[in-house]
Amino acid sequence: MSGAIVGEVPAQTGGGPAAVAIGPWRLAARRLARNRVALAMALLLLLIVVACLCAPLYAHHVAHTDPFQSNLDGTTIVNGKSVPVMVQSTQGLGLGVTPIGPTWDLHHYFLGADEQGRDVAARLLYGGRNSLLIGTSAALITSALALLVGLVAGFFGGIVDGVLSRLLDVVWAFPVYLLAISLSTVLIARGISWGPFHLTSGSLLLPIAIIGLVYIPYVARPIRGEVLSLRRREFVEAAIGLGASNWRLIWSDVLPNVLTTVIVFFPLMLAIDMLTEAALSFLSIGVQPPQASWGTIILDGQDVLYTRPAVALAPGIAIALTVLALNVLGDGVRDALDPRAKLRRRD
């Protein structure tokens, strides 16, 4: 997993002066390609993403259900017989209903139904779309803004750095979940309207923005540190001596060197973002109904945990697998791009 990769010196370099140097990116790609575990996890991730993208196909053409419509009086077919989706309780007074359990039949309630008679398997796929979308977008926001802040603070130094670094320190000291909860409670209840800018409470943009913002210090601080040390390296001083503008220095000397940091952090951030999304949704301040995400499905499953555990188990397994794949892949990417492990992981 994180062991040193041997034999990384490409064969060409031994060939004398005519040898063609291999670029750092291709070298990293080769190292990654040799990491079987990481590749297997990348494949698993790809499968999960494709499955989730196919959610409408599954719902409309295989399971023939509408996963956003409650179906309390519906029936389905088990072993060729028509049975109600919500089964009348046989215990006690016979009051209350229990949703149907997993049928393991892809066409009819594969993983059973939730409390509203909706197909859990179809909701799982739709929920996965939202979870992946929120995780990816939030990780992109974090990376882009952290890169910007880290570059500006590290490159310009002085007052700019002082202000930005203090700001990062404060957000850093604020426990992530509490910050996310505070922002979510204020925003999710009734949405936000600010001049022409209006977001309803159900908008996915709210959790995306909130999760994307709270993790900025975790990426921005290491980037700032790297930019600070790059700034004093000879090749940057040489470029300054040649009269390069600040813009040019940042763009062609500093940025390419910190890009690896961003790439190393990306899968790990994505994993953390997906866990955060699930937690917020579980606390009912993330994705809002009727939309689903893996977190909201676990919340739905809480009420029928002891009778129909599949509702809560399935999305949890989906999250755990996805996050595990991302973590292993992230380790692989780090080993490939940063073999001496300069960047320490701080989860």
Binding site: P175, V186, A189, G195, N327, R346
Partner: protein, 322 residues
């Protein structure tokens, strides 16, 4: 040391102040959001809205409002809920705090011991199957959502196997230590384990890489050259320096957990700690309670970090000069 103490204290005050300003701004000055409507709760009438506006001075300038809020939180301590009319918020927080502390302390003991054992095993036997195994277990622990893990634990111990192996598990909830120490232990052991699993994974990984790194250091080679036993080299030399990073990480995580990071575990296991209080007030959007718990929690984190820094400076004199 005195200068270090003074400087650390000033910086702590600065962060405390900034955090209070930040939470104040989030709750009272988010653009496009009417704070009165949020504080008053879901279906507030005009009279309540007016009362809220007056109470929090929402018609006055921002700094005055900030002062009013701080006064309510720390001086008069009379912040009241508008959802549960008249319920004072601060006593609720202080009542909930022992539950959270019990949960986090126990979990911390478990995760520190387990992760040191696992990290050392993996670090010493690096590259061998046991290393891979430990690291895989750690990664799986990191990858599971803690609230989901808690639900799985509940499913097994409260329902599926409650009739046999887990018949000793009390119903969900907290049993105060003063009432029954053994009951307290029984009510908390599963939440402790659940909460610690994530951290065991993280800390074992951190410690492993620190030990692997330390093995290459000159002082470890010197220790070996002196003819010390491998065990002595590991415990007295390699482990000791490896624990420095471990300690600082611990301070951050411990503070964050006491400050509400344990919220999800508390919710799933029905422990009425500070996190559960936050959660319950989230359900009916009881903003004053959320505000109080968030600020309480953030303060706790900052103070915990400062304490860790002090311990750190005491352990390692070099830090004092920075």
């Amino acid at each position: 040391m005195a200068r270090f103490l003074a400087r650390r204290f000033v910086s702590m005050l600065f962060v405390l102040f900034s955090i209070s300003v930040l939470s104040f701004l989030i709750f009272f000055a988010t653009p496009g959001v009417d704070p009165a409507a949020r504080i008053a709760g879901k279906n507030a009438d005009q009279a309540t809205l007016q009362a809220v506006r007056h109470d929090f001075g929402l018609d006055r300038p921002l700094p005055v409002r900030y002062g009013l809020m701080m006064k309510k939180l720390f001086i008069s301590r009379d912040l009241t809920s508008y959802v549960n009319r008249g319920a004072k918020v601060i006593p609720q927080v202080t009542q909930a705090a022992p539950v959270t502390l019990s949960l986090v302390f126990g979990a911390a003991v478990i995760w520190v011991l387990a992760s040191i054992a696992m990290g050392m095993l993996a670090g010493v036997f690096r590259g061998r199957p046991i290393d891979t195994l430990v690291m895989i277990v750690g990664l799986v622990g990191i990858s599971m959502p803690v609230f989901w893990l808690g639900e799985v634990v509940n499913l097994i111990t409260q329902s599926r196997l409650h009739g046999s192996v887990f018949s000793w598990v009390p119903p969900l909830g907290y049993i105060p230590f003063s009432r029954s120490p053994f009951g307290w232990f029984k009510s908390l052991i599963l939440p402790w384990l659940t909460l610690s699993i994530l951290y065991i994974g993280i800390y074992a990984r951190v410690l492993r890489s620190a030990i692997v790194e330390a093995q290459e250091e000159d002082y470890v080679r010197t220790a070996r050259a002196k003819g010390l036993t491998e065990r002595r080299v590991l415990f007295r030399h390699a482990l000791r320096t490896s624990l420095i990073g471990f300690v600082s990480l611990f301070g951050l995580d411990f503070g964050a957990l006491v400050g509400g990071g344990a919220l999800l575990t508390e919710v799933v296991f029905g422990l009425h700690g500070v996190g559960k209080l936050t959660y319950d007030s989230l359900q009916n959007l009881d903003l004053p309670v959320i505000l109080a718990t968030v600020i309480y929690a953030a303060f706790f984190v900052v103070v915990a970090n400062a304490v860790v820094d002090l311990i750190y400076a005491w352990l390692d004199p070099r830090v004092r000069r920075v």
